[in-house]
């Protein structure tokens, strides 16, 4: 059944129209934090430098990407939609007067350098507050801005390991795994950071007060395994890897289908679910066996149960299994690969999961939408900027510099 039509017309302005963001964010966490704000109408100035470009501006995994350009990288394009770019040499003393004016201009500062970096540049929150007392400041990091590990660095795999998530992913008899594509903390943390920023904007709206905030991948993602942390405290049990099995469902797993490396997922929780499943697959004799009569029995004979389910799924197409079982009220899914989700998934297509954006160098291609939909103020994606694309606009129009002032900064080699 389609959901009700809404009488509310979507607004042309985003939810964050009028919000000004000075964005020192880089790599994935910092870039996405700024992107979520920019796609919803905030004016976001990404401060970057061609002398130390973002790693996503030099990534050359794609055939359209060259070594000679910083502007032809699809990763950067995905993570930096709707932003302006200011290329600035932070080590050039003349860059400071420009930054000071931008700090005064901004409502929000976003950064995720290694803790201590902005302080060494003389650009930390305490300094910015002297220029703009009600500034909202968010720092992202792996371990947090304080504590014995504050200055340790790492990447998403580090986050998976420290959070306790890695230890719970994979097979009991194998080394744990993370998705080969589909890293986690790098995508969850920016949602949290942007939540903190928007909450601070609402708080400032009421109180007039700014805010200093910091989030770490360690602390945000460790929240996910809280049930296991309580299990250890309450029951003395250190949960381990269980493959696809969970303690309150059986069968609950991934089963082979027809085709090369094709799979489906089936999840059967309650006795009612079990009866529906058995009826759906035609009530085979084995399903009436006492080995599967109760949930406890199914759990005790799970190896055999999974083998029998696999016999049923093996000759079938994964999407056919899904449609057939779902029609009969059984939780089932095709295990979808990239071609499935991009070319053939009618659900993701209806949601507009990828939106075509015309990039000035790469041309038109599908860009990822922020992962939620606002009915009245939908996100709108504009192409990611080229390095320094908005230097002149920012100086002359936004900050109101005269042409000679701007040219002087150009000659001082501030924009690089």
């Amino acid at each position: 059944m389609p959901s009700e039509p809404t009488s509310q017309a979507p607004s042309a302005m985003g939810a964050l129209a009028g919000v000004k963001v000075l964005d020192f964010g880089w790599a994935i966490v910092g870039s996405l934090t700024g992107k979520f704000l920019a796609d919803h109408g905030a004016e976001v100035i990404r401060v970057e430098s061609a002398s130390r470009p973002d790693m996503t501006r030099v990534d050359r995994r794609y055939s359209k990407s060259s070594q000679s350009s910083l502007d032809d990288k699809p990763w950067f394009a995905h993570f930096n939609t709707s932003k302006h770019s200011l290329s600035l040499d932070l080590k050039n003393p003349r860059s400071r007067e420009l930054l000071d004016r931008l700090i005064a201009w901004a409502d929000v500062v976003n950064e995720n350098f290694t803790p201590g970096t902005l302080q060494r540049l003389g650009l930390d929150y305490d300094y910015m507050k002297t220029i703009n007392p009600d500034i909202i400041f968010i720092s992202g990091s792996l371990f947090g801005q304080t504590g014995p590990l504050a200055e340790e660095w790492g990447i998403d795999g580090t986050g998976a390991a420290i959070s306790g998530r890695l230890n719970l992913t994979g097979w009991p008899d194998r080394v744990p795994v993370t998705p080969s594509s589909g890293i986690y903390g790098d995508y969850v943390v920016p949602l949290m950071n942007a939540t903190a920023v928007v909450a601070a904007l609402a708080h400032r709206e009421k109180t007039g007060l700014g805010q200093y905030m910091e989030a770490s991948m360690f602390e945000v993602t460790a929240q996910e395994i809280t049930p296991a942390v309580l299990d250890w405290q309450s029951n003395g049990r250190l949960a381990g890897r269980t493959g696809n099995r969970v303690s309150n469902a059986s069968p609950h797993g991934v089963f082979p289908c027809a085709g090369d490396d094709r799979w489906c997922a089936i999840a059967v929780f309650s006795d009612q679910d079990w009866n529906d499943f058995v009826a759906a697959i035609g009530g085979p004799d084995w399903a009436a066996d006492s080995r599967f009569a109760t949930f406890e029995a199914r759990k005790a004979n799970e190896d055999e149960l999974e083998r029998l389910v696999a016999e049923w799924t093996s000759p079938r197409d994964p999407h056919e299994v899904m449609a057939y079982l779902q029609e009969r009220g059984v939780r089932a899914a095709a295990v979808q690969g990239p071609a499935d989700i991009i070319d053939n998934d009618p659900q993701l297509r209806e949601r507009g999961f990828l939106q075509t954006v015309e990039h000035s160098v790469l041309g038109p291609f599908g860009h990822q939408m922020p992962p939620f939909r606002l009915s009245a103020t939908p996100a709108q994606l504009r192409p990611a900027p080229n390095m320094g694309e908005h230097n002149e606009y920012i100086c002359t129009e936004l900050l109101g510099m005269s042409d000679p002032e701007y040219i002087e900064l150009l000659l001082e080699d501030v924009f690089r």
């Binding site: 794609y62 371990f143 719970l168 309150n248 799979w263």
Partner: protein, 412 residues
């Protein structure tokens, strides 16, 4: 210190496990989040594990973990008298968070349009497996099903075995945080512009949003990235990310150039102290080492020495040597390690929440820190109907007779 950033705002939380995290985040921002359960309690109160392994509606550690900082009432919103009370509550709050099957609230006369008529500024956050509309929106789902459809599952696991799910409910957790951002944005807009709206979150889409690298590989190059076990395909060569040690596992990943040089050198030096033959010595200058250009053969040679090397040490020794040498080897923590972590303890991450059934257990206190406001989980998850009296009598001003009437009608 002031209370959370959004203290003063109020939310009704009608979610099952698909949406728990959204309300938890809002609660830590200082919002008064009231969990609304049907009389008898939500089915999600029976998700294992249980306190002392004894099942019961007040004993689910899963439920307790993700509903901290919320108050709780029971209310049957399908009951006409219950629906009346629900409408009254909606007129007084800023958010409704729900995870019902799309169309359900509309069927019982409590869809977005109906709620907006009561409260034009209301923000409704709807978190469902596939979203509010579309051909799969009525499919039955769970963590495993939504993740399978997202593309993430296909990318996780060893090549010689079926794809394997991530820890616990990673997809639902991610979707909850996504709903919190959408909700807070919509709340900010309603503050400024006076209009509410609906936030539509699909667990499938949220998980798929993580797949930038396989989306780009397929969309631009027609290359389908395969799951690669504990290895990572960042370039032509597949290199290991995760390793076994004496009593657990760890993450250590070789990176090229200036980024990876100090850690590569540190590990090589450490190996030199134990091994006569150390293949990492083949690299003379780590600053000039091009990770993208490493041949599979060379990597395999490195891995065949690194693997047994890490097996010599315990997790504690790996941690200690990392701090001393800067190897960047990171232990895969278990829950015990997390509770003992000096980093987390030093930052005050763990807090004791007193629960009448669980007693005194440690919970994470916050998602982020602030210098000027306390965005913390301050109370344990609510007992079933714990705040009925407070909310129905003291806040809505119902009389004892009215409350009895609701109770007799099985509305609360």
């Amino acid at each position: 210190m002031n209370k959370g950033l959004l203290s003063g705002a109020r939310a009704l939380d009608l979610t099952d496990e698909t949406g728990f995290i959204c309300g938890k985040v809002l609660g830590e921002l200082g919002i008064d989040v009231v969990k609304v359960e049907r009389p008898g309690g939500d089915a999600s109160r029976l998700i294992p594990p249980f306190h002392q392994d004894v099942p019961g509606v007040e004993r689910s550690l899963y439920w307790k973990a993700f509903n901290t900082g919320k108050r709780g009432i029971t209310l049957d919103i399908e009951n006409p008298k219950g629906a009346e009370v629900f409408r009254e509550l909606v007129s007084r709050v800023d958010f409704v968070i729900e995870s019902f099957e799309p169309g359900y609230l509309q069927r019982i006369g409590l869809g977005y349009e109906a709620l907006r008529a009561i409260n034009p500024k209301i923000v409704i956050v709807s978190i469902t497996p596939f979203g509010q509309k579309g051909p799969y929106s009525h499919y039955r789902s769970s963590e495993l099903i939504a993740i399978a459809m997202s593309g993430v599952l296909n990318n996780t696991g060893d090549p010689d075995r079926p794809p394997v799910k991530e820890s616990l409910d990673s997809g639902l957790f991610h979707a909850g945080v996504s709903g919190a951002l959408g909700g807070v944005m919509a709340y900010y807009h309603s503050m400024i512009a006076g209009e509410g709206q609906q936030v539509d979150v699909s667990v499938q889409e949220v998980a798929a949003s993580r797949l930038t690298s396989s989306i780009l590989a397929w969309d631009l190059e027609r290359v389908s990235l395969a799951r690669d076990g504990h290895k990572s395909q960042m370039g032509p060569t597949s290199t290991d990310w995760f390793w076994a040690c004496k009593d657990g596992h760890l993450f250590w990943h070789m990176l090229g150039g200036a980024f990876g040089a100090p850690a590569n050198q540190a590990l090589s030096d450490w190996m030199d102290e134990y091994l006569d033959e150390n293949p990492l010595r083949e690299v003379r200058d780590w600053m000039k080492f091009d990770k993208a250009g490493i041949a599979q053969e060379q990597w395999n040679r490195f891995a065949s020495a690194i693997g047994p090397f890490f097996l010599r040490f315990t997790k504690d020794e790996i941690r200690e040597q990392n701090l001393k040498r800067g190897t960047n080897a990171t232990v895969a923590n278990d829950p015990h390690d997390l509770l003992e972590s000096e980093q987390l303890r030093g930052r005050g991450y763990w807090t004791h929440l007193d629960d009448p059934v669980l007693g005194d257990l440690k919970f994470p206190k916050y998602f982020f820190q602030s210098r000027d406001t306390e965005n913390f989980s301050l109370t344990a998850a609510p007992q079933l109907g714990a705040d009925n009296e407070e909310i129905y009598r003291n806040e809505l001003g119902l009389t004892s007779e009215q409350i009895d009437e609701l109770r007799n009608a099985h509305a609360i």
